[in-house]
Symmetry: C2
Subunit: 260 residues, 2 copies
């Protein structure tokens, strides 16, 4: 099963993605993929060691796509690079959990380096051609906002989870995502409501999502343990009493129901 | 003076940009530019009427850059399109305030439409060639994260304001922005600390920013009026008792000191 996590910046995509990956890795083999140029999925997984992002593997990108990473806009890419050996080539194993592997698309290394299209092309091809075994799950933490829909990076996923907080700006993004995900052929889309502090916010959110005809597969309450985990640069999975962790665990069960 | 507002997604860039624009427009002519494909600056300014984004002006982009918007990655763009008539051509006047004009770069209209490079190229050229009168200010609300640094959209600004909330993930973005802004030749960079709820968070933030050698030009407290404004889809400037508005007003004075 391939799952993409999207949403407006700051709604909690990465914390959700990382924590979901940790939970699912208790029983499944999980590839967690950080597709955000402003990457920080590793810290949500509790991985502190240095990771070489795909965008830095210049020889590999050149070999597979024909493009130099960091080249100017006007370059032609191979749309269908070979990808079958990439999962093992690109991912690192999370030392504390044999089941969890991380892959990082990469970042803008230097101002003026051009857009991240070449690395995106490779990632898109990888997502399309990756054949998963029954006990394997891919979790793709997308970049904030909607530009990646232009590039169709997530077109081959089985489920898109849109994370939203109870704010009008965040719902505007959800609405755009709903339309754009249809354009790129995503069949299954569900919402996770995050950072809900009170009943008023919950109602406000439910009303807005109802209007958009989107199903909510879970609601995560505002939880100080999440900021604590962030400040200590620790994964939320270590905070056993976190209410947010409890909610994400419930969501993971619903995700697995969709899988089967 | 040309100011770019950057930062991680969700830290409050757009609310800050929009409110700063409203305040400065009390005395100056302000061009507020929404450079985020996941655009919502208009609502922070209290503008509800439909705006045609630059990316939708296909004939104009084709004429000036030689590229079709929504074309695939492998197209060559003119790097120096004519821009002198663009400010009047592209911006709309905010009906309630003669001094405030809004320009919207545009969004991904359809999934699979390609990246937003062509519209970015036009905006970059505009920023570079725009000659401002003494009483004119440009406020550029950038997209979340750091990809725009690869495209150098903001290279011609006089001041970059990085908005951050007190979280490790947000500071990671600040650190990347600091390095990348040097690469593209930004001379002046300052931090605005947003959504600070208590002393502990303030200290946590100050310590982190100190390590990065960044000056803080203002601190905006966590303020429920901001969510209220968002839920009601009204600009914060209408909430006269907002503590956040008060802080942004103080920051605007510091920004004007830097201008003179």
């Amino acid at each position: 099963m391939k799952i993409a996590i999207t949403g407006k910046g700051g709604v909690g995509k990465t914390t959700f993605s990382g924590t979901l990956a940790c939970i699912l890795a208790e029983k499944y083999k999980v590839y967690a993929i950080d597709a955000d140029p402003d990457m920080n999925l590793a810290s949500s997984l509790g991985i502190t060691k240095e990771i070489t992002p795909i965008s830095k593997m210049k020889d590999l990108i050149k070999e597979r796509t024909g493009a130099e990473p960091g080249s100017s806009f006007g370059e032609v890419f191979k749309a269908n690079p070979k990808t079958s050996d990439l999962p093992d080539l690109l991912s690192i194993k999370y030392s504390e959990n044999e089941n969890l592997k991380l892959m990082v698309m990469g970042t803008v290394e230097k101002g003026g380096d051009g857009c991240v299209c070449p690395a995106s092309v490779l990632l898109k091809a990888l997502m399309r051609h990756l054949v998963l075994k029954k006990d394997e799950i891919v979790i793709l933490d997308m970049e904030a906002g909607i530009e990646h829909f232009g590039r169709k990076t997530a077109e081959a996923v089985d489920l898109m989870i849109v994370v939203t907080e109870p704010s009008s700006k965040s719902f505007e993004t959800v609405e755009r995502i709903k339309i754009l995900s249809k354009d790129i052929g995503i069949k299954s889309i569900a919402c996770v409501l995050n950072k809900v502090s009170n009943k008023e916010e919950l109602e406000f959110a439910e009303n807005n999502l109802k209007k958009m005809n989107l199903s909510i597969i879970g609601c995560i309450p505002y939880d100080k343990e999440v900021s604590k985990a962030d400040m200590n640069r620790e994964p939320l999975i270590n905070y056993k009493n976190s209410k947010a962790l409890f909610s994400i665990r419930k969501i993971s069960e619903k995700v697995l129901e969709l899988k089967n």
